[in-house]
């Protein structure tokens, strides 16, 4: 026979309130954490496989294998993306510094629009890949555009920039990481 206790301890009834307050504390903290700072499960993991046509020559394809041995920055962008326009000057600067190869991934975009965009704003990319279906973007866990991934010679993702790159990111994050990768390779 099971019997519901008639005089349960009063403390027991405080547990839900207590749990809720803990959760509310986390939610409060969550509000002040950078919402752009999205965890990427892929960091320090091999980049997903891909094989995509290039923007200027659809016959030619670039795959993960063909990038092996190079340190490169995969920049996910699209002509319909406003934040990418702001970021583009930063990319042009990085390209001018010649510190790393930048490969563009034109995400869910029309080829005509993408080409017009690069003609207008300059082309910082060594290659521009076309991901019209967004399949590769999904494999990379792209939440929004722009995002950039720093990938080393082994094809491992070393860092993810969520949202546009800013000038301070070059000195603050990108260059130290490139040096670290260089040292690791030695």
């Amino acid at each position: 026979m099971i019997e519901e206790s008639k005089t349960p301890s009063r403390m027991r009834y405080l547990i839900p309130l207590f749990l809720f307050l803990i959760m509310a504390g986390f939610l409060l903290k969550g509000l002040f954490m950078d919402p752009r700072h999205i965890p990427s499960v892929l960091i320090n993991k091999p980049a997903p496989e891909f094989n995509l046509p290039t923007l200027y020559d659809p016959e030619k394809t670039v795959s993960k294998e063909s990038m092996k041995g190079k340190v490169w920055l995969l920049n996910v962008w699209a002509s319909w993306c406003g934040a990418c326009r702001a970021e583009h000057q930063v990319l042009n600067t990085i390209a001018g510094m010649k510190i790393v190869d930048i490969v563009g991934l034109d995400y869910k975009d029309e080829a005509v629009d993408g080409k017009r965009w690069l003609k207008q704003l300059g082309n910082p990319y060594t290659e521009v890949l076309v991901d019209k279906s967004g399949r590769t973007g999904i494999d990379f866990g792209v939440y929004g555009v722009p995002e950039s991934f720093l990938i080393d010679g082994e094809g491992v993702i070393r860092h993810k920039f969520t949202g546009p790159l800013y000038y301070p990111d070059i000195k603050g994050t990108l260059i130290p990481l490139l040096e670290k990768i260089k040292e690791g390779a030695k």
């Binding site: 026979m1 099971i2 019997e3 519901e4 008639k6 349960p8 009063r10 009834y13 405080l14 839900p16 309130l17 809720f20 307050l21 959760m23 509310a24 986390f26 939610l27 409060l28 903290k29 969550g30 509000l31 002040f32 954490m33 919402p35 700072h37 999205i38 965890p39 990427s40 499960v41 960091i43 046509p53 659809p58 319909w80 869910k108 029309e110 629009d113 076309v130 019209k132 279906s133 399949r135 939440y143």
Partner: protein, 666 residues
């Protein structure tokens, strides 16, 4: 002018909501019947002004009034009229207005349909709902006003997100919100009971149909959402464990537990404080969902634009409502007498098992949803809780639930003789085990243990319920008694059976589509064919077709089965004028035993396209199951015993006086 009227109506409804939160409650505390009696008229007024506000916003959409920022951001002159209406709730501000509007409607419904309740209870329930709506309407007015004007009026609107230009969007949020908001009624009843310290069978009987109604809406909302994601997003999936999906699923699980717990409270007077806890939990999870969706703390495909101000506002609101109600619970619940006594093998104990499993599952989903946030906040590193984890948890809990479901209808209250129970269920057990064993055949199981398990559970739920119905009807003499049972008090029993069949249908669909579905990504040239399961998909080519506010590339596929044409599918790739983003419109040939699904990828040049082809066996049963659960709930609500208007209990003198004041006789 019209938007200002809407804005003004919104302000008025906030004032009325605040009044509704304060005066009726104080009236019941210090015996002021005239104050207590204000609850109903205030609820009416609030519903009226919220209707005017919603009407004004709808009007602004219909006449393309782009001077209203919300309309300019979410509509366009080319948008078809039906989507202009659904665009009203297509983004943050408007969807909040819909929320508040529904809360007003539910409050008014309580005011009308509560003639048998004491004024005291009605006043308190409506006061609690007034507090909730005061929070929502002020949130809207202070941080997210849908009637805000633009001073540079754009010539053209930015258009509704193309993903949302669909019948699914027209239906999904309203049904879901009706469910969310509906749980505020159960919440109001729970708070009223905690304030009054009285929680008897009539309390449970009053709460039950309202809780079930909210649950039915939520079930429909989730089902429609899942169906919409399946055909609209072009991935062919039906559930993604996205944080926002979880936000709607958690109250559903807690609400399911609440419905079952309420049954025990009504019939046996047991589980009282537990029932109250679940009522608070279910609604709290609805509010938490709102926070998660609108504050930007989690990333999700559904999330509205993030804004920390909004987050702070909702968080304070959560602290007041959830924190306040849990504090009230901690203070008052220990004094609520709960005197259930029952055997280990009894309906009570099995419903307790159901409750525990559902609650554990609710917390697992909650944990999985918040884990990335918790880890990040504690600086333990970044984690991402994905699809596989949730699936594993789901598979750990549901089989036990499904086994319990089979026993439920044959269980008696207080005590069931285990020997008799086993004897009754013998045939059902044997049949389901045999079916489970047959499913081990490699052709059926595809090498997974989950297929035999799923088939066993489906068979078990069906056969045990058939056994239960036969057992019930055996005691009824003659056809006329059987019909009387169906028409009258037996309704809630048959409703339960239908809802449980829905669970079986869902398991069948989910098992089949997960293990027998075929998916192929291909590059196809015109005239080329591909074999998927027993079907041959022939790609005929792609042609341009215009639409009202988009242009599309339309593919054509002819599908053959044994050389006969089975279906012709025309998936589209659309580009909407206003936003220029390409959209995939999948084409589906649906059937009870299989869906054939084609979605168009990208143009690879020279007439070649990348395409995605699916064979989805029994996928419809997932949503049919949801529909059956909802129908079961509706049958339960129609049970005659909920419609007995008069509660024949002596009322306290002051509530009598209050009743005469509001002249309910009409």
């Amino acid at each position: 002018m019209i938007p200002e009227i809407g804005h003004f109506a919104l302000v008025l409804s906030m004032c009325l909501a605040i009044a509704q939160a304060i005066f009726p409650l104080i009236g019941t505390m210090n015996n002021t019947p005239s104050w207590a009696a204000l609850a109903r008229p205030l609820a009416w007024g609030q519903a009226l002004f919220l209707t005017i506000a919603l009407g004004a916003l709808t009007y602004a959409f219909l006449v393309n009034d782009f001077s209203v920022r919300y309309v300019a951001s979410n509509s366009n002159t080319l948008l078809p009229t039906v989507y202009k209406i659904s665009a009203v709730w297509g983004a943050h501000e408007g969807s909040l207005l819909l929320w508040a509007f529904f809360l007003g409607i539910w409050s008014a419904a309580i005011a009308v349909l509560s003639k048998g309740l004491t004024q005291e209870v009605v006043s308190r329930v409506l006061a609690v709902m007034g507090m909730v709506n005061a929070g929502f309407v002020s949130f809207m007015l202070f941080t997210s006003n849908p009637f805000e004007r633009l001073f540079q009026i754009p010539a053209e609107g930015r258009d509704l997100n193309p993903l949302l230009q669909d019948i699914g969007l027209a239906l999904h949020p309203p049904t879901l919100y009706l469910g969310y908001v509906g749980f505020s009624v159960a919440f109001g009843f729970a708070i009223a009971a905690l304030i009054g310290g009285r929680l008897d069978a009539s309390w449970a009987r009053w709460s039950r149909p309202w809780t079930t109604a909210a649950w039915v809406w939520l079930t429909l909302g989730i089902t429609i959402g899942s169906w919409w994601a399946y055909y609209e997003l072009g991935w062919g999936g039906w559930w993604f464990w996205d944080p926002v999906e979880n936000a709607s699923f958690m109250p559903w699980i807690a609400g399911t537990a609440l419905m079952h717990s309420l049954a025990v409270t009504e019939k046996r007077g047991a589980f009282r404080s537990w029932t109250l806890m679940l009522a608070i939990l279910a609604f709290s999870l609805c509010l938490l969902g709102t926070f998660l969706v609108r504050s930007g703390v989690l990333t999700s495909v559904h999330a509205f634009a993030a804004d920390p101000d909004r987050g702070i506002f909702i968080l304070i609101f959560l602290l007041i409502t959830i924190g306040g109600s849990l504090a009230l619970y901690a203070w008052r619940a220990p004094s609520i007498f709960s005197g259930g006594r029952f055997d280990l093998i009894s309906r009570e104990s099995f419903l307790l098992g159901n409750n525990l499993l559902l609650t554990v599952f609710t917390f697992l989903v909650l944990f999985g949803t918040l884990a990335p946030l918790i880890y990040d906040a504690l600086e333990w590193g970044k984690i991402s809780v994905g699809f596989p984890w949730f699936n594993k948890m789901f598979l750990m809990v549901t089989p036990f639930l499904a086994v319990l479901i089979g026993f439920g209808p044959l269980m008696r209250w207080k005590r069931t003789d285990p020997k008799k129970l086993v004897k009754k269920l013998r045939i059902a057990m044997i049949v389901s085990v045999v079916i489970g064993l047959i499913a081990f055949l490699p052709a059926i199981s595809t090498g997974s243990l989950l297929v035999p398990l799923g088939m066993f559970l489906v068979a078990w739920i069906i056969t045990s319920h058939i056994t239960a119905i036969i057992d019930r009807l055996k005691h009824k003499q003659g056809i006329s008694h059987i019909f009387a049972d169906l028409a009258g008090k037996g309704r809630s029993y048959y409703g339960m059976v239908v809802a449980h069949m829905g669970v079986a249908m869902f398991i069948l669909g989910a098992t089949m589509v997960s293990h027998h579905g075929v998916e192929k990504d291909l590059r196809m040239s015109p005239g080329e064919s591909a074999e998927i399961s027993a079907y041959r998909f022939k790609f005929e080519g792609v042609a341009h077709t215009p639409g009202p506010n988009y242009t599309a590339n339309q593919g054509e596929f002819t599908i053959y089965l044994d050389g006969e044409v089975e279906a012709v599918l025309k998936p589209q790739k659309r580009t909407y004028f206003a936003q220029g983003r390409p959209m995939t419109e999948a084409a589906i040939d649906w059937g009870l035993t299989r869906d054939l699904y084609v979605s168009l990828g990208e143009d690879l040049g020279g007439g070649d396209w990348s395409v995605r082809l699916y064979y989805k066996p029994f996928v419809r049963w997932i949503w049919l199951g949801g529909l059956a659960m909802a129908i079961g709930g509706i049958i339960c609500i129609s049970d005659r015993r909920y419609r007995s208007k008069k509660e024949k209990k002596p009322q306290q003198a002051y509530t009598e006086a209050a009743n005469t004041l509001v002249t309910e006789k009409s």
